[in-house]
């Protein structure tokens, strides 16, 4: 199946918004959930309604519930965010690709450098290069959101060569990077989450991964952070 065929621009745009909303949520941290949750709920609603996936709808309902919570609850969610992703304790689910995919399970592994090369293909680099691992989840999500935006732009311009270029880049990046670790990461989160918000977030990451997974994507085996889970083949994206 060819990636992105017959997908209306509006759906691609909604996908991009979801990717960016997730990117912002992880980048801006637990302290800013009151700003980052609502955009995520909005973009997630659009996706869930478009594909009519009940699990995504249910997860998004939980997100929606907590996006309108009080300051005290936001603080609890912030603490949980930091326990899961930031520290100062050893974070339960470090949000970096190479932690899951490299044989060393460290940051700045071969995946980090491979991702850096990918960004460079588009003459991009991370703002925090050499300080922050390039394969931070937010950066990877921003990169695919960018690629999606390029697809939309080139489709509008009817530049078929560019359309194909960005579709290929998008597909390659999912196959070689995000698609290989996002579910593992999500599963690690769901296994350890002590707050419903993060179980729901995990569901959304799984759904996103499934929607974007081309047929030949192979998930990486993982040993350190979670037991293997089987990849669902249903609810495929029309992309």
């Amino acid at each position: 199946m060819t990636f992105f065929e017959d997908c209306p621009p509006q759906v691609l745009k909604t996908h991009g918004e979801l990717l960016l909303a997730l990117s912002h949520l992880f980048a801006q941290g637990g302290e800013n959930l009151s700003q980052t949750l609502s955009p995520l709920v909005k973009s997630c609603s659009a996706i869930a309604e478009h594909y009519n996936t009940s699990r995504l709808l249910q997860a998004n309902q939980i997100l929606a519930q907590y996006s309108e919570t009080n300051d005290g609850e936001y603080l609890v969610m912030c603490y949980e965010f930091n326990r899961l992703f930031v520290g100062p304790n050893a974070p339960v689910a470090p949000p970096y690709e190479s932690v899951y995919l490299s044989s060393d399970h460290l940051v700045m592994g071969e995946q980090t450098l491979a991702v850096r090369k990918f960004y460079q293909r588009e003459n991009l680099q991370t703002i925090g290069q050499r300080h922050e691992p390039d394969d931070f989840i937010s950066t990877e999500l921003e990169f695919v959101a960018y690629l999606l935006s390029r697809i939309i732009e080139t489709q509008a311009a009817k530049n078929s060569a560019k359309i194909q270029l960005y579709k290929t880049l998008y597909q390659e990046f999912w196959q070689q990077h995000l698609g290989l670790w996002l579910k593992t990461f999500a599963h690690t989160v769901s296994q350890s989450a002590k707050h419903p918000l993060f179980s729901a977030l995990s569901e959304i990451l799984v759904a996103l991964s499934t929607l974007n997974a081309p047929l030949n994507t192979k998930e990486a085996p993982y040993e350190t952070y979670a037991p293997q889970i089987s990849r669902r083949s249903s609810s495929r994206c029309c992309l």
């Binding site: 050893a90 980090t112 680099q125 931070f136 921003e142």
Partner: protein, 734 residues
């Protein structure tokens, strides 16, 4: 990560105007090179680094960096002691630098100990800390309520900027002393004027080697090749230790001695040496004071039967090693730090010193009573030296001088709590983890909970961080410039910044600079720490002509080509210029006597085993860690996943304990529960567990450890040491 929302024209804009995108980037930006993806990887660059841990070996390292990523570390072949190899801890360094567990950002905990952490900016962290300092200063009229506890987490010279941070805000309360080796330092200070060991590479010239309470196979592996070379040349290796260590297992002769009776063994040897007239009278009489007085004491008070009874060492073995040690010429002794962690530990070292003197082995290549040295540490300590702000009020010491208020590092919980005028209200912890390493952990926890404010600078979430209000992320030594000397070998090496600091980590000097800027913004003149200078410039300021001369260099940059060995003779004290008041070896030390200790190296009884707690609990250094560093890393947790207590099968049987049984170890102070490992490497009245901080574990041997002082340490280090190995407990099946 920078979260400032910025709108960029995407990278494709560089290719063609028609390809411009209006995508809003947050984390990505234009790459400076239009064809960056086609560029090959950077060539691998190498850097010189030095392991800054509290370790004999202080290894020279070569760090390989590709595309800004530390790929691997190796021993520096130009470092004559490290000789191209590292220990397992050293080889694990990339795993420490790139561990996902590292503390990445300044974080605040509300309330302390709750586990509720929020990420804060450096500016907020500095603002909070600076305001707290100024508030305490206003309330108490001085900065004495602020207490610094810094020690050996990083022994880099620039890291003394931590002390400089405190000096620059005013007079503060300081944890003074050293938990590691002070009794032995004082012993050698009384005897020789200071501690000054032979070059360890000189051990190749020894014809006989005694490792006395020293487990080099775990704690100083780079010395073993020199010992082995000596053995290849015919030297005999004797290891004296209460535990059959990895080092002991390699020895020609292993002597399992009763703990804390090393002086008795040395006195028994001395008696046999005197009886057989193997004494080097000429050397001893020419170079020492009080030698004959001590010989008379030995003849009058010491018998081999007594020494054998006291030490548990058979008489014929005492005679054998006495004869061999006295007649080998030269014979080397290496006194380990564990040996002096007793209530009579310093005195035992003094007796062993006397053994070296009586056989003429002091001042000789291939000889020495080797304990450690500080001969190569003559740096400027520029980062440490800052005048207090004008008008600072200090503590008036016994000498009438105003200054910092010293408290005992080795009884930290008690001494902090005991301060009342003014009380201690804020702790600053750096290069130090008292939550895991100090005695009486329950008291430490209680003391921490009584504080108004606790700041910790660290790389990992250990027990001390857990008890802090704010944690600041520390750089590793690969992310910083520094210079390192050793307290064992004679080499000095530079530490280059090999990689950029990860996340938002900062060095201690960078933290001091930030704090100074903030404090002066809030209250001009409230902090004297300079606010300029690159990390390399701060390093450069540590060098002086004396160091240049000692290392044979004209500029610190020459150390980038390789570490340098100090130009010193291989044998300490070979010039006979001892640094005691009399300029001779003081077998009779008036200084010791003045300090309430025996003037002579005579026997002082070991601590008696309490009836209620008949089992000695020894907690020596671990194989896979250095105190609370390294054990938390994945390699170590895989290899050594859980702590164990070593118990002799006979003792275990008495309490119904079998291999793998969970054992409760307890005394009046507290308890720990740990899995049993039955082994005959320890004796029937000694159990052994290795002190360490395991990831996600509350295991801590110090819950049972009282802050009992060793006999010496005050003279040279400010406070007596800790009798870590005079800890007595009861055990039962958990």
């Amino acid at each position: 990560m920078k979260l400032t929302r910025r709108k960029f024209l995407g990278g494709a804009a560089a290719v063609a105007a028609s390809s411009m995108t209006l995508f809003n980037f947050n984390l990505l930006t234009n790459s400076p090179s239009a064809s960056a993806a086609d560029q090959p990887s950077e060539a691998i660059k190498t850097f010189r680094n030095v392991c800054p841990r509290n370790c004999y070996d202080t290894c020279g390292m070569i760090t390989y960096v590709e595309d800004g990523v530390l790929k691997k570390v190796e021993g520096d072949p130009k470092h004559g002691y490290t000789n191209g190899k590292l220990c397992l801890k050293g080889y694990s360094y990339p795993r420490r630098v790139y561990s996902p567990d590292r503390i990445k950002y300044p974080m605040k905990q509300s309330p302390r100990g709750s586990g509720n952490w929020t990420r804060i900016s450096w500016d907020e962290a500095m603002d909070t800390i600076a305001k707290k300092i100024l508030d305490l200063k206003k309330r108490y009229g001085s900065t004495l309520p602020i207490c610094l506890d810094k020690y050996s987490g990083n022994f880099g010279i620039v890291h003394y900027g931590i002390e400089g941070t405190m000096s620059s805000i005013g007079y503060t309360t300081r944890a003074v002393g050293t938990p590691c080796w002070p009794a032995g330092i004082d012993a050698q200070t009384y005897d020789f004027g200071t501690l000054y060991s032979n070059d360890p590479e000189d051990m190749v010239n020894a014809k006989y080697i005694i490792l006395w309470g020293q487990n080099a196979a775990w704690t100083a592996i780079h010395s073993l090749p020199f010992i082995n070379e000596a053995r290849e040349r015919g030297a005999k290796l004797v290891v004296i230790d209460p535990i059959l260590t990895s080092t002991a297992s390699k020895a020609d002769l292993y002597i399992q001695i009763n703990p804390s009776t090393d002086g008795a063994l040395a006195l028994g040897m001395a008696r046999y040496i005197i009886d057989n007239n193997w004494v080097d009278w000429e050397y001893a009489r020419a170079n020492s004071l009080g030698f004959d007085e001590w010989v008379e004491y030995v003849k009058k008070s010491i018998t081999l039967d007594w020494a054998s009874e006291k030490t548990g060492v058979p008489k014929d073995i005492i005679m054998e090693i006495a004869r061999e040690y006295a007649t080998a010429k030269p014979a080397s002794m290496w006194v380990g730090y564990g040996m002096q962690r007793h209530t009579n530990g310093g005195q035992n070292v003094r007796i062993i010193d006397a053994l070296g003197v009586m056989t003429g082995n002091v001042g000789k290549s291939g000889g020495g009573v080797n304990y450690g040295h500080l001969e190569t540490w003559g740096f400027n300590y520029n980062a440490m030296v800052n005048a207090p702000p004008k008008g600072s009020k200090g503590f008036i010491g016994p000498d009438g001088k105003e200054g910092d208020r010293a408290i005992n590092m080795n009884n930290f919980a008690h001494d902090v709590s005991a301060q009342s005028d003014p009380p201690v209200k804020m702790l600053w912890l750096a290069c130090r983890n008292p939550g895991a390493q100090d005695p009486d952990t329950n008291a430490i926890e209680k003391m921490f909970s009584s504080m108004e404010f606790v700041v910790t600078v660290d790389s990992f979430f250990n027990k001390t961080v857990e008890m802090s209000d704010i944690v600041l992320p520390a750089t590793t030594h690969f992310e910083d410039w520094d210079v390192m000397a050793s307290y064992w070998h004679y080499w000095v090496g530079i530490n280059q910044r090999a990689i950029d600091p990860l996340y938002e980590c900062k060095s201690d000097v960078e933290i001091a600079i930030e704090l100074s800027e903030k404090m002066n913004a809030l209250e001009p003149g409230s902090c004297t720490f300079p606010t300029s200078g690159t990390p390399e410039e701060w390093l450069a300021k540590e060098f002086n002509p004396g160091i240049h001369q000692m290392l044979g260099i004209n500029d610190y940059k020459e150390l980038i080509d390789g570490p340098r060995k100090a130009k010193m003779p291989p044998a300490s004290w070979s010039d006979g210029n001892f640094r005691t008041p009399s300029k001779k070896i003081e077998i009779h030390s008036e200084l010791a006597e003045k300090n309430g200790l025996p003037a002579l190296p005579i026997w002082v009884d070991e601590m008696k085993t309490p009836e209620k707690y008949p089992i000695r609990f020894m907690t020596p250094h671990p194989q896979y860690a250095l105190h609370s560093q390294f054990q938390n890393l994945d390699w170590m947790m895989t290899t050594n996943p859980e702590p164990k207590v070593e118990i002799h099968p006979n003792l275990a049987a008495k309490y119904g304990i079998t291999e793998g049984t969970m054992v409760k170890i307890y005394n009046d102070l507290g308890s720990i529960t740990v899995k049993a490992h039955l082994t005959r490497t320890t004796s029937t009245n000694v159990i052994v567990a290795y002190e360490a901080w395991y990831k996600n574990s509350n295991f801590n041997v110090n819950y049972t450890l009282k802050a009992i002082p060793s006999d010496m340490g005050k003279q040279a280090t400010g406070n007596d040491g800790l009798a870590f190995h005079d800890n007595f407990v009861m055990i039962e099946k958990a």
